[in-house]
């Protein structure tokens, strides 16, 4: 399976540029994983192996790094990763209700992915946007100051975007 994975030439160019920015090869690991994430859509075992081979660093080290951090897109995550900030400032302003609303609307609990594969729900720690609590990070984008109606609208918008219509 590993043989079928490869960076595009554009991604390879980016990777080679990265290597010029650091005095050691390993220092480029975190940004290279970002390239892999966007090239392959997720970081599962084959993708991690590819990066290890490419960078000539031990696979165990790559696995250790990927699993230490929470923000890499791991295998099996839905098209839209709904990451609800649950730390204190958001909790004080209704993050718990936001999580409950998503659970009601999508029928998934924390850490679960909807059957259609569109949504994964996660509780995450402080997103650094406490003044606009409660906050959801969906993939790369922040959705801030959410009312429960905003949560419904967001889900609808994402469904429309995915072209699957409303369930």
């Amino acid at each position: 399976m590993t043989e079928t994975l490869a960076f595009s030439s554009e991604a390879m160019k980016k990777y080679e540029w990265l290597l010029t920015r650091y005095p050691t090869r390993q220092a480029a690991l975190l940004p290279t994983l970002r390239i892999a994430e966007s090239e392959f859509g997720e970081l599962g075992v084959p993708q991690m192996r590819y990066v290890a081979d490419l960078m000539e660093i031990p696979p165990a080290l790559v696995f250790g790094v990927v699993t230490f951090y929470t923000h890499y897109r791991r295998a099996g995550v839905g098209t839209y990763h709904l990451q609800v900030c649950s730390t204190l400032s958001c909790a004080l302003r209704g993050a718990g209700d936001v999580v409950q609303r998503i659970t009601e609307r999508l029928g998934i609990g924390t850490g679960e992915t909807s059957e259609c594969g569109l949504f994964t729900l996660s509780k995450v720690e402080c997103l650094g946007s406490c003044d606009t609590a409660p906050v959801i990070q969906c993939n790369d984008d922040y959705h801030e100051g959410l009312s429960l109606e905003d949560v419904d609208a967001l889900i609808q918008q994402l469904r429309d975007e995915a072209g699957k219509g409303s369930a």
Binding site: L30, F68, L88, A91, C126
Partner: protein
């Protein structure tokens, strides 16, 4: 001298982040002067004289930190800019990076000239995708206009700046954890000494400064150390970004002189406690700080005043809680955070944060015992000062202060079968519930 905003003056202008806007308002003039006219030692002495204190949390004097870097060394020196902004309740550096990225870059140039650094890495937390894009665009523009790279601003100084994205880990805001992460490893802190100034990134002398700290530098050069030192209290002067969140009418970032009163900050700038309710508790400096009761909030927001009040300015992340807040739930939330974020290297932290979460949890769900309150203090005593980095302390400080200052909430939860929120969700429960929150 009237107070002038330096970070947020123009943030409501649409193009405030652009290079042309920045330069039209005098941007890069101080960097130019530092490169052409200033001697490195004079820059360090000026920043020392201004008494600029680090804005990331520890409040260490910036010029003194720079002075620790060896002058004569064969090794390259680095600047690692801490833009991880992971302390709960803190969202000020994000504002600088999104709205005023060139101010940060100008501060970086001044620092690098002072210490003789030719490569700066900006470590930005992975979640801040928008801020990272803004900052990368600003860096690219600065390179193409000759502000960065070889012959910076027409001088003989070379400076490279590389933006490095983190990937979601609170501990990477700790300086040595951040360096581990920059080196491509798990973000595990390292024992000090050696301190980063002597042996930091890639084993080389490294300055680690926070975004807001660096963004102060152009202003210090512009008005001089003496005038800067007169803004706010003598021992920790300067303009400061205060973040207010939680139960207030108008949460936000407020730029004010250091030493503003906490009451004024909450009541006047953040619109007061929301919904006409009464104040119950305030965390003044990010969730790692000791909590203050409402009757302890007549205090000034500067390093010395808050230390005298038994807490800390930290990252100036002010979290306000109103009278309806159950402090058992607040404790559980904060302890879950630290347990989740402990890197696991040191036993007192890995186990201690887990125990604190467990104890808070069982009190919240009606399985608590009266001895649990003392047990929290006992666990905290075994954590503080016993680990490689300060994460264990950061968990213990709020834990012991919440339990000891709000004992009535804990007694009520233990006697009544859980926190009010738990009882509301489980009306039949009288304690001993098997299900978990």
């Amino acid at each position: 001298m009237s107070f002038r905003k330096i970070f947020t003056q123009h943030i409501h202008e649409e193009k405030c982040h652009s290079l042309s806007f920045y330069q039209k308002n005098g941007g890069y003039e101080q960097a130019r002067k530092s490169l052409h006219d200033w001697q490195p030692d004079d820059l360090i002495e000026t920043v020392k004289a201004a008494n600029l204190r680090g804005r990331g949390g520890a409040g260490f004097p910036t010029g003194v930190k720079w002075g620790f870097v060896p002058k004569n060394t064969d090794k390259p020196k680095y600047l690692a800019v801490n833009a991880d902004e992971s302390e709960p309740g803190t969202f000020k550096d994000r504002l600088i990076m999104e709205k005023n990225p060139h101010l940060l870059l100008e501060g970086i140039i001044i620092c690098c000239k002072a210490v003789g650094i030719h490569h700066a890495y900006i470590y930005i937390r992975g979640e801040f995708v928008f801020a990272a894009n803004r900052l990368q665009n600003a860096i690219d523009r600065a390179y193409s206009e000759g502000i960065l790279g070889e012959n910076c601003l027409g001088s003989d100084f070379t400076l490279d700046v590389t933006l490095h994205r983190g990937a979601g880990a609170y501990i990477c805001g700790e300086e040595t954890g951040m360096l581990s992460s920059l080196e491509g490893d798990r973000g595990q802190p390292k024992l000090k000494p050696p301190f980063p100034a002597v042996e930091g990134l890639f084993g080389c002398p490294t300055v680690v400064n926070n975004v807001e700290t660096l963004a102060n530098l152009p202003y210090i050069l512009e008005i001089g150390a003496e005038a800067y030192g007169k803004i706010g209290p003598e021992k920790s002067p300067g303009p400061k970004l205060f973040c207010v969140s939680g139960h207030v009418e108008k949460p936000g970032v407020f730029e004010l002189p250091m030493g503003i009163s906490l009451r004024t900050l909450i009541d006047e700038h953040a619109g007061g406690v929301w919904k006409g309710r009464k104040l119950k508790a305030v965390i003044p400096g990010g969730s790692s700080a000791h909590v203050l009761r409402a009757d302890e909030c007549d205090v000034d927001m500067d390093i010395e005043s808050l230390a005298a009040a038994g807490t800390m300015l930290g990252s100036a992340g002010v979290i306000v809680m109103d009278e309806t807040t159950c402090m058992v739930d607040a404790l559980l939330n904060i302890m879950r955070f630290y347990h989740h974020e402990s890197c696991g290297q040191c036993t007192p932290c890995r186990e201690g944060t887990g125990w604190l979460e467990k104890i808070a949890h069982r009190i919240a769900i009606g399985e608590g015992r009266m001895e649990d309150m003392d047990l929290v203090t006992e666990v905290c005593d075994r954590m503080v000062g016993k680990t490689i980095c300060a994460l264990a302390d950061a968990a213990a400080f709020p834990a012991e202060s919440i339990v000891n200052k709000f004992r009535e909430d804990f007694v009520a939860a233990i006697e009544n079968g859980g926190s009010p929120a738990w009882i509301k969700r489980h009306p039949a429960s009288t304690g001993g519930a098997a299900t978990h929150v």
